[in-house]
Amino acid sequence: MTELWALFLSAAFVDNMPLTLFLGLCTFLALSKRPESAIGLGLAMIGVLGVTVPLNWLIYHGVLAPGAWGWAGRPELDLSYLSLIAFIGVIAATVQLLEMVLDRFFPTIHAAFGSFLPLLTVQCAILAGSLFMVDRSYTLAESAVFGVGSGLGFALAVAMLGAVRSRLAYADLPNGLRGLGVAIVLTGLMSLGFASFAQMAVSQ
C-alpha cells in the first residue's frame, strides 16, 4: 500500500508532467489564461489518464508484449513495435467515448469543457503516460495509480498557472514578454518550486 502511495505522490509531484518532464505543454500554455478553463482541462486530464493508462496496460500485456501469444503456440511473436499505433487508437477512442458519455448523461459538465476534449487525443502527456507505463514495467495496479497521480499533478499545475495568469492581466509587462513569454517564464518559476519536491520521501 505504501509503495502505491509513494508512486502516486511521485507521479503527481516529483515527476510532474508539465513542470519537470515538459509534457503536454502546448495545451498547458494555451488553456491556462483563465482559471475556469484550466480547472476543466485538469479534470479532463485526470479522467483520461486514469482510464487510458490501465487500459493500455491490458492491451500491451494481453496482445503486444513479447511472449503474449505464448498460449497460441507463438511465444516468439513480439508485436511491441506496434504499441504506438495501438496506444494512440485507444486514446482517441477513449476521448471520443468520454465525450459521448458526458454529452449524454452530464450535459452541463460537457458544456463546461466539451470544446477542448477532442484536443486531448493529441496531448503528449496522455500518450507519454502509456509509454512510461511500458518503459518502467508497472503492474496493473501501479499503472492505474500512476495514471490518476500524474493527471492530478497536471491538474494542480495548470490550475495554479491559470490563477497566476488571471492576476497578471493587470500587470504592466514589457511588450515582448506579454502573453506567451511571461507564461513560459512563470512555468519556469513554478518548475523551480516543484524541483524542491525531488527530495520528498514517504515515511511509513
Binding site: A30, L82, V122, L127, N175, G176, G181, G188
Partner: protein, 221 residues
C-alpha cells in the same frame, strides 16, 4: 515566376517571422525536453523535420480522397507509422542517442507541430508547397532547438557536441559548470527569453494587453 517567389517565401517565413515554437506555440514539449545537449537536439530536429515533411507530402497527396470526418484518425495513424520507422532506425544505428531521447521520439506522434501543419496547410495545398512549408517549419523548430541545446550544453557542462570547449575548474581550467542549466527550470527561462527577444525585434508579434488602464483617471488628475 510568381510560383517560385511564393515557394521561397513559404520556406523562409517559418524560420524567424512565423516560427512554429515562438509564435504558433507548437511543439514546445519536445523543444524543451531534449535540449540538455546539442547532439540530442540535432537528432530530434532531424527526426521531426523528416516526419513532418513526409507526412505533409502524404496527406497532401490524398487530400482529395480523405473524408473530413475521419481525417484526424488517418493523419495520426500516418504520423505514428512514420515515427515508428524513425524510432526503429534510431535504435538500430544510434542506440546511445536513442536511449537519451527515450520516449520523446515516440512523442513526435502527438507533437502539435506535425498535426498543426498537416491540418492548417498540407490539407489544402498540392504536394510541393506542402513539402516546402513542412520543411521550413521543421527548420524553424530546429533553429530554436539548436540554440537552446547549444546554450544549455555550453553553460551546463562547458561542452559542445561532447567536446570540452570551456576548460573545467576541476580539470585545472577556470570554468565551473552551472548545473542549473541542465535542470528543467532553466529550459523554461531560456525559451521565455528567446520569445521575449524575438518579439522585441518584431514588435508586431507582441500580444495586445488584456487590460488597458482607463485614460480618464489621468485626465481627472
Amino acid at each position: 515566376m510568381g510560383q517560385r517567389v511564393d515557394i521561397i517565401g513559404t520556406l523562409t517565413a517559418p524560420l524567424i517571422r512565423q516560427n512554429p515554437v515562438t509564435l504558433q506555440i507548437l511543439g514546445i514539449c519536445s523543444a524543451l525536453a531534449v535540449t540538455t545537449s546539442l547532439a540530442t537536439a540535432v537528432t530530434m530536429s532531424v527526426s521531426l523535420t523528416v516526419v513532418l515533411t513526409l507526412s505533409a507530402v502524404i496527406i497532401s497527396l490524398i487530400r482529395r480522397h480523405l473524408p473530413d470526418t475521419i481525417r484526424l484518425i488517418v493523419q495520426i495513424v500516418m504520423v505514428a507509422s512514420l515515427v515508428i520507422v524513425i524510432d526503429q532506425v534510431l535504435q538500430a544505428y544510434f542506440s546511445e542517442i536513442s536511449r537519451d531521447l527515450s520516449i520523446y521520439v515516440s512523442l513526435i506522434t502527438t507533437n502539435c507541430l506535425v498535426l498543426g501543419r498537416t491540418e492548417a496547410f498540407a490539407r489544402h495545398n498540392p504536394p510541393l508547397p506542402a513539402a516546402v512549408d513542412a520543411f521550413g517549419n521543421g527548420l524553424g523548430y530546429s533553429v530554436i532547438l539548436i540554440v537552446l541545446g547549444g546554450i544549455r550544453e555550453l553553460f551546463g557542462r562547458g561542452q559542445l557536441f561532447g567536446w570540452q570547449v570551456l576548460p573545467l575548474a576541476d580539470a585545472g581550467g577556470w570554468f565551473s559548470p552551472l548545473s542549473l542549466m541542465l535542470l528543467a527550470p532553466s529550459a523554461f527561462f531560456l525559451l521565455g527569453g528567446v520569445v521575449w527577444a524575438v518579439r522585441s525585434v518584431l514588435p508586431e508579434q507582441a500580444e495586445a494587453p488584456e487590460h488597458v488602464p482607463p485614460a480618464t483617471v489621468r485626465a481627472a488628475e
